[in-house]
Symmetry: D2
Subunit: 100 residues, 4 copies
């Protein structure tokens, strides 16, 4: 089962700036070799369910190891069995409807 | 690593009423024997990371098997390494501050 | 337009314990006189769109005033025009399907 | 008070393909003249709190008017009073930490 997620990891108890911790997550996502795209309020990742979820767990592990005592993550997860759909498909599907 | 999640599974393409599909998820959560509590906009589940995530995957599987071609799920995930915290602790911690 | 929301306000830059700030939000919700119910990972609120959104804004204001330099909130919002639905309806609708 | 949101509007009861409804929201966001950026699982919008929230309400209205009987939206909202931060700042802040 393929899944597209939107992942937003928020470390707590480490002060107001968290980009250093978010960067650690980005490295794990890259290391996993999954298709992904960062945006201003999270990162979209696409892949096989177990591989994607392994990366999410790894993100929590590295952020805790880096010193964050607490993490609250927000995640959206999309699956479909009617047809395949990629990150790029989702955007272009809306863009086509917006074209004049 | 323990995790507390808030899970909201939304089947798409099955009409406007989705409680039947949400009930299928509830059964999977109960079957897994994890501490959980349903509220009006999701279900909180507490347990070991891998066990909790296995239930989330199982929810997507049963909802697809029941006929939903597409699912979009929203999830919050909380972990902490400074101390243990249960579902009940989280509520009582706020309630104590609200007591007159 | 009526709306049911699930609101989870996360203050950042104030240390690992945030229940004191969550309690400030709860007081604003109570003050507004809206139907609500706290759970372990947020609070469900039901009411007229503008009244509910005014409370969400008020929550951000009081949490900033109390000293939090940054807030990240997660919110689900449900509206329907086919029929009225309350917080209690949503839970009982699933519970009926779970009854033996 | 400025806010950065991540908005994901999910119409229910209109079948499995929802891009047509998402396009209606995009038009409202553009009409409002707010800085925004669509990604594969939502749209980030930046602006003054009341203007941003007015667009979110308008999205629910147009999607209902277009025939969706029910909508479930997921939204993240970020505010900060320590300094100004734009959509672009958030991404570049992480990117700098990822640079070799």
């Amino acid at each position: 089962m393929n899944v597209i997620i939107d992942l937003c990891v928020v470390p707590m108890g480490v002060g107001v700036s968290v980009s250093e911790y978010v960067a650690l997550c980005q490295r794990e996502i890259e290391r996993a070799g999954l298709v992904h795209e960062m945006h201003a309020y999270g990162t979209n990742i696409e892949g096989e369910w177990d591989e994607v979820m392994a990366v999410v767990k790894r993100c929590h592990e590295v952020v805790h190891e880096a010193g964050a005592p607490r993490i609250t993550t927000t995640m959206k997860l999309g699956t479909r069995v009617d047809r395949e759909q990629s990150l790029a498909d989702k955007v272009s599907s809306v863009s086509r409807k917006l074209a004049p």
